[in-house]
Symmetry: C2
Subunit: 477 residues, 2 copies
């Protein structure tokens, strides 16, 4: 989509804006910007534009250089007027009247009037949020007489802006019916991508062939990917974004691919054997990760602290590694020392919504409940979510097992204490040399009764996965 009306009823956006106004109180109006497209290499050649997620949440409108003002009972959408040249280059596009109806706002004004409006109303009566990109942030900041800390380096907001951030977080954490409809659409396309990927895989192909097979059904549904796909035979490279390795007989292929459905994210990881058959060692580790994931999902229900789910999933991994003789010792003690974090190095998951890591533009403010902060222990420090679950939240559950050479090298800082006292049995570990990296990830909705796996249709039982690999007609090298 490049320029468009909301795909859902105006009422859903109106309801969100009223809920925001009531959370924010009548003292200040909320002003949320949509952002601008960014060039790849010159101004006319842009990356696909994606509006800011807060703006999308409140309007559903896919437009650049716009802002929504939520002022008590009144909503004003500021946007550019139609350019007559657009009719030649872009064809007929919806006009102001259609956006007024489609977004359910009271008034539409020219975005050029926003600066005067802000001056007149008094910038300090407006709460707003920094854009995720520095260009827009700089422009917003200079208009509003503010400076914001850069995202990614911690987020430091004025009190008013902080109140808006907290109100948005409160709303967006608990998905309404319209949000759920979009998430289900993203989940369906994401599942289809994984089915296509398994079917297309055969030794002899390159990772890029499998990636192309997976992204095709997403594009065919007129969606995009929600993040840079990971499709690799080196699953131990956690943020691998190259696709040039040959897929060899005996490799595991790890694919972390998700669809963006009108701005809403899917996020699924599956790991499958390139030749359609797990080796005994691969199967052992795969079943361990799967058991960890299933145990975690079984715990999900309102009131449960996500950090406890993370630790329980890690405990299953720790116990499994003890059972295989890779770790020695008492599981409680191993967990305390973070031994499982040598192999399950990242957090169990994150909230998911419009953003794949939802609201990460606000740093940990969305992922961590007030008063909670990141732990310092390796492994646990990477956990992105530490809240008590509530019905309507959506989270990912994505444990993994990885052998990262840099981490596990003999003499490495991290493993030294475990080598020193014999906790780590490297001979036992060496038997699993054909398991570089496994991750199994689903998107899960918290319900009043427990949970619902939104992406359950992507096979993950080992037999089901094996049965699918290489079944596509075009799965040739």
């Amino acid at each position: 989509m490049s320029h468009g009306l909301p795909s859902q009823p105006a009422e859903s956006f109106k309801a969100r804006r009223r809920a925001l106004a009531s959370r924010l109180g009548s003292e200040r109006a909320a002003l949320v910007f949509s952002g601008v497209a960014r060039p790849r290499n010159y101004p006319d050649n842009i990356y696909p534009f994606r509006p800011d997620s807060h703006f999308l949440y409140l309007t559903g409108a896919w437009i650049e250089r716009a802002a929504i003002l939520v002022d008590g009972d009144k909503d004003v959408l500021f946007m550019p007027p139609a350019d007559p040249g657009d009719l030649i280059w872009h064809g007929p596009t919806p006009g102001w009247a259609e956006f007024k109806a489609g977004c359910g706002v009271d008034e539409i004004r020219d975005i050029a009037e926003l600066e005067g409006y802000v001056r007149e109303r008094g910038a300090n009566t407006l709460a707003t949020l920094p854009a995720c990109d520095a260009v827009t942030r700089y422009g917003q900041g200079s208009m509003l007489g503010r400076s914001w800390a850069a995202p990614g380096t911690g987020v430091d907001l004025d009190a008013a802006d902080g109140a808006l951030a907290d109100a948005m977080i409160g709303l967006r954490l608990i998905h309404d019916a319209s949000a759920l409809e979009m998430l289900r659409g993203a989940a369906a396309a994401t599942v289809e991508a994984h089915l296509a990927g398994m079917a297309a895989t055969r030794p002899g192909l390159r990772e890029s062939d499998v990636r192309a097979a997976m992204e095709r059904p997403i594009l065919a549904r007129d969606m995009s990917t929600a993040y840079g796909s990971i499709v690799t035979v080196h699953g131990e490279i956690l943020h691998s974004h190259s696709y040039d390795h040959r897929v060899e007989d005996g490799d595991l292929l790890l694919a972390d691919v998700g669809a963006d459905n009108g701005g809403w994210a899917g996020d699924v990881t599956r790991t499958w054997p390139a030749n359609g058959k797990f080796s005994p060692t691969q199967r052992t580790m795969y079943e361990l990760v799967l058991a960890s994931q299933e145990a975690a999902i079984a715990m999900l229900r309102p009131g449960v602290r996500y950090r406890d789910v993370h630790l329980a999933a890690g405990r299953v991994i720790a116990q499994g590694l003890v059972d295989e003789g890779i770790l020695r010792g008492d599981v409680d003690n191993l967990m305390e020392r973070g031994a499982q974090g040598l192999f399950f190095v990242h957090g169990l998951g994150h909230v998911i919504g419009l953003d794949v890591h939802d609201m990460e533009d606000l740093g940990d403010r969305a992922g961590y409940a007030p008063g909670r902060t990141r732990a310092s222990q390796f492994g646990l420090c990477f956990l992105r979510l530490d809240r008590d679950l509530e019905a309507g939240m959506a989270v990912t559950i994505e444990p993994g097992f990885y052998q990262i050479p840099a981490l596990l090298a003999e003499g490495s800082e991290l493993t030294a204490p475990f080598d020193a006292d014999g906790t780590l049995d490297r001979a036992a570990l060496a038997k699993f040399a054909d398991v570089r990296g496994i991750r199994i990830e689903d998107d899960v909705l918290i319900t009043a009764e427990g949970s619902e796996v939104l992406t359950a249709a992507a096979p993950k039982q080992p037999e089901a996965v094996e049965a699918l690999v290489g079944t596509a007609a075009g799965a040739s090298a």
Copy 2:
């Protein structure tokens, strides 16, 4: 690619840097930045990073936050040091020694030293170019004590920076052997996309299905698209970037899709009948556009002014419209009045290289020879290239015929004079209602003898196109 060494020999980049130094003279050093990745919605979720094209041209290195300094005989690459955390998240990546050898530079320094280096050397001894994105431009400007006009609003450079721009333009306009190798790779993948698109097309699909089929082979080669694909049954919407129309029996499908091969662009347009058979009216107009394109290509050789090729291609269209009774009058006179521009509304093409519109980050400085400027006449004013051709240049040749409702509406400003004196025969035009838009585009290298069509393997003769449509096994709705 996300982080990588040059894919071509160091010597080719070294030769370019020496040629740049010799063009620029010894007075000033050239400093060219690589740029930074930009977030989609939060800092960790970025658009695929693409280095600045000038930087890529001089180094071949695919790295963020880097700069190349070309100082007479000496080349220094400034880049970030390896982050130990990268080993965990990104796996082993090439280090400084490998970039030193791969890029053939004399020295590598920490990018953090650049600011001190600039201070010490004196900013006014460095020529540099504004980045295409405002974030990076702002950072560069403040470091160098400069302000640049925004790209897209005309480019206003200091004398020294202008000299660097002209030196880069002089080099990049004439493709060397390494450049040609990359362009040929881009062309091959682009051709494959069009073959796949034709084969996958059948009435009942959506435009997005065809787009997905076309982009798959590009992704499978571990490439990306060079620009936002246009795949539409509304070819008259020149910059259409939506893909949600149903492909109907009787529609023409226009696809303008190109591959990016390690930063180098392909750019091809084909138009084919959705049902595999041009209607008589579609075939007439298709053959007219093809005749225009072939006439233009036949003219290409060193010394020829591209604007004259544009006008000759327009003349073929004008004559054809007279033959069909759509335009009445003397062709010379019609051309003078720009009558053909009602239907062939854009320019014949542009230079192509690293950027699909090569060096458009420098405005018209690359496309227009010194002293030449845009015409004011509708149609001609959109021409992006007005230089005398030289061997080694690569250009696109892309005439078209479009019925744009907003332009052709009775009483529209543009058509009124042609309606008033009976030049435009709307009854004759009405017979071609099933031809909304046709464009045929190839990438052509200027050679000493004439020209070579780099993308000739994409079928364009009507019979060849018809024979391919709908032949893919998976071309079902």
